[in-house]
């Protein structure tokens, strides 16, 4: 099946800058939850937090 090109970023498509502030605790917790959901619902095997 042909890859859907529009679902991928390629070189020079995006600008990247450092965030102006560190992450909040809530943002870190949300990220961990999201990664847990990815590990649970996809074939991608991500290690759990030690």
């Amino acid at each position: 099946m042909r890859v859907k090109d529009y679902l991928f970023w390629k070189k020079d498509d995006i600008g990247i800058t450092r965030a102006p502030a560190p992450l909040s605790d809530q943002q870190k917790i949300r990220a961990e939850k999201t990664l847990s959901v990815v590990a649970e619902h996809t074939e991608i095997s991500l290690h759990k937090i030690s």
Binding site: D5, F8, W9, D12, T17, L23, Q27, R30, T34
Partner: protein, 211 residues
């Protein structure tokens, strides 16, 4: 299409589309708009038009320098205005996990730019440096991780997958087969909030919208 593929992008053919459809499209105030939350005819046209030509539209927005000289650029702007307006009126109807990929030839470089080594088993810790990503174009995510993950040409190659937890209040348009793709407004800023790399070198990076 990336910057290197500019030669393959035929601006004459691309803008011919806008000549036919959008040059004579009346502005919103010349037609009766529906009530708030519903799309005008022009907005519906823009929504239907986008999926078929999104590769070319994304290219035009990312590399507009030479295209702005084209006669039909103004028609293109009318189209953009209507799609922007449709996106403003639309939102996700449920919480959903969404994915966007990165071409494998760019994955290593992007990991480097984000201060991530991408070693198997690695994940973000206290020293994680958040970054903001911004795409001048509209951005499509898929509810399918498989759709946004390239099959590796060889083993051991780093692959990169962005993950976003969509929320019902997000301004976004469900698109595609069975609404499994979602379109976000152009120039959306995305904040990286954490990552994890699998044993097979797939790095998943979490995104939040940076407002």
């Amino acid at each position: 299409m990336g910057a290197d593929d500019t030669v393959r992008f035929n601006s004459k053919t691309f803008f011919a589309l806008f000549s036919d459809i959008w040059r004579n499209m009346p502005s919103d105030n010349e037609t009766s708009a529906n009530s708030v939350g519903q799309l005008t005819i022009q907005e519906q046209e823009a929504v239907h038009f986008f999926p078929e030509y999104q590769d070319a539209i994304q290219h035009a927005l990312r590399y507009p320098k030479d295209l702005k000289k084209e006669e039909e650029w103004s028609s293109f702007l009318v189209f953009l205005r209507n799609l922007d307006s449709a996106l403003c009126k639309s939102s996700l109807n449920k919480r959903c996990l969404l994915f966007r990929g990165v071409r494998t030839e760019y994955a290593e470089r992007l990991l480097f730019l984000l201060d991530i080594t991408g070693e198997p088993g690695e994940r973000s810790g206290e020293d994680f440096t958040p970054h903001i990503l911004q795409d001048p174009s509209y951005v499509t995510f898929s509810a399918s991780a498989d759709d946004a993950l390239e099959k590796p040409a060889e083993r051991g190659i780093s692959r990169l997958l962005f993950v976003y937890q969509g929320e019902p209040e997000d301004n976004a348009l469900p698109m595609g087969r069975k609404d499994n793709e979602v379109l976000f407004p152009r120039n959306t800023r995305w904040l990286t909030t954490g990552y994890a790399t699998s044993d097979s070198r797939i790095t998943c990076i979490c995104l939040e919208r940076f407002l």
